[in-house]
Amino acid sequence: MAESQQGVLKTTPLNAVHRALGARMVDFGGWDMPVNYGSQIEEHHAVRRDAGMFDVSHMLVVDITGARVRECLSRALANNVAKLTQPGKALYSCMLNEQGGVIDDLIVYFFREDFFRLVVNAGTAEGDLAWLNHLNTRFGTGLAIRPRRDLAMVAVQGPKARERAWQALPDTRAPSEALQPFNGALLAGELADGMIARTGYTGEDGFEIVFPAALAGDVWKRLMDAGVKPCGLGARDTLRLEAGMNLYGQDMDASISPLDAGLAWTVDLKSERDFVGKAALLAQPQSKVFVGLILLDKGGVLRAHQAVITGQGQGEITSGTFSPTLNQSIALARLPLGVQPGATVRVVVRDKQLAAKVVKLPFVRNGKILTA
């Protein structure tokens, strides 16, 4: 068992709050983050049944301003920002390299024709900034690309998340009450430069709330007082896995095509629009299926990198865990083309081959098991 190593870890504005709550802290890609505050499984259930919150301030908000933002993002992103017509609308997209590999997956928010906001992964943030600046120069779009390390972000998730958030932070109610899923609104007053968005990474309803870092401790306390349970990155991982959502660095990376990572639905290959990586994707069509697995046998827990033996050849688990909602081990897997939902495959777990069922993703959405 490896102990978490202390060193030059980066911290979020809530680090002292997590420690005061007795969180178990781990090195998460160079960030000192809470993995749980006690039982990861209880935290998981709190989000499925009630409301939980996650400090996701390690992720980076990037504000892009200038007259030609849409033009630049239209070429930088694999999904099509032309879909963003109403202010506040959000879009999930991959950013690809020239070889069609995934540099990062992100959410882009459209607020004004001269102002779009990205939320990118922590581990890829510096590379993303360098790449966006490179593209801005290459396309001559003259944009200002501004990382917002001055902002913190908390995800409040679960069937009761919205009402608890409004109770805790009354000023967020008016701008967010009418928000449809995958829309966000900018905040004003004390929370100026902040944002509330009906997005998340759990498969439940809720908000991701961005606000000035100096307010982080106060926001967290008010949410706790409203009955929102602090949850660590451990529960965040089991929740997103049940929701069939990819984790960058595990389910895809710069060497993997989004078409082989179950993300074809986010890649716009139909329009005439050119974007970085498009030519590579057209030259190398999908070569794998990306599916869910449910362990049928006893004998262990499905984990990343375990080999999967199918009738069509060998594949690999990209993320695996124990699902608290299904009370069984589940996984995301990249398998040979032709493997169909319903098929039984064998997973190599230590010295055994365990049977697992192939299912369509997601496993769970809005508290309900969809793969029974």
Partner: protein, 126 residues
């Protein structure tokens, strides 16, 4: 950290209790269960089989990670806790009550090579 002083310990986070009949009960420590998090799967050694000191003889998996269980001293497994694989969370509830298996040591003097509670406290720093 709660490490009973009547037990012996390994640097790989097993606890060992000497029973009146000379057999040894073995489990994982409170520190180990805390580091693992919610335990969801346990594979125990085979009853009747002999293992060498330090040999991997079982597996414990939490939501987070898998970890081997190592044989503290050479011996033959006499009994396994059959209820544990169906209620692995018992390890989180009380690691020192959740014994996993019992062995008859090849050489009872080997027990002297294990850590006492104070020695283990020096190993189990979180």
């Amino acid at each position: 950290m709660n490490n009973p002083t009547d037990l012996k310990y390994t640097a790989s986070h097993e606890w060992v209790k000497q029973e009146p009949d000379g057999s040894l009960s073995i489990g994982i420590t409170d520190h180990a269960q805390e580091a693992l998090g919610d335990v969801v799967f346990i594979e125990l050694p085979e009853a009747g089989r002999s293992y060498k000191e330090g040999e991997a003889c079982g597996v414990i998996e939490s939501v987070k990670a898998a970890s081997d269980i190592y044989m503290p001293v050479a011996g033959k497994v006499t009994e396994i806790n059959l209820t544990l694989p169906d209620s692995p969370q018992d390890v989180n509830a009380d690691a020192y009550a959740a014994w996993m298996f019992r062995i008859r040591p090849d050489n009872p003097a080997d027990l002297g090579k294990l850590l006492d509670a104070a020695g283990y406290a020096g190993v189990a720093v979180s």
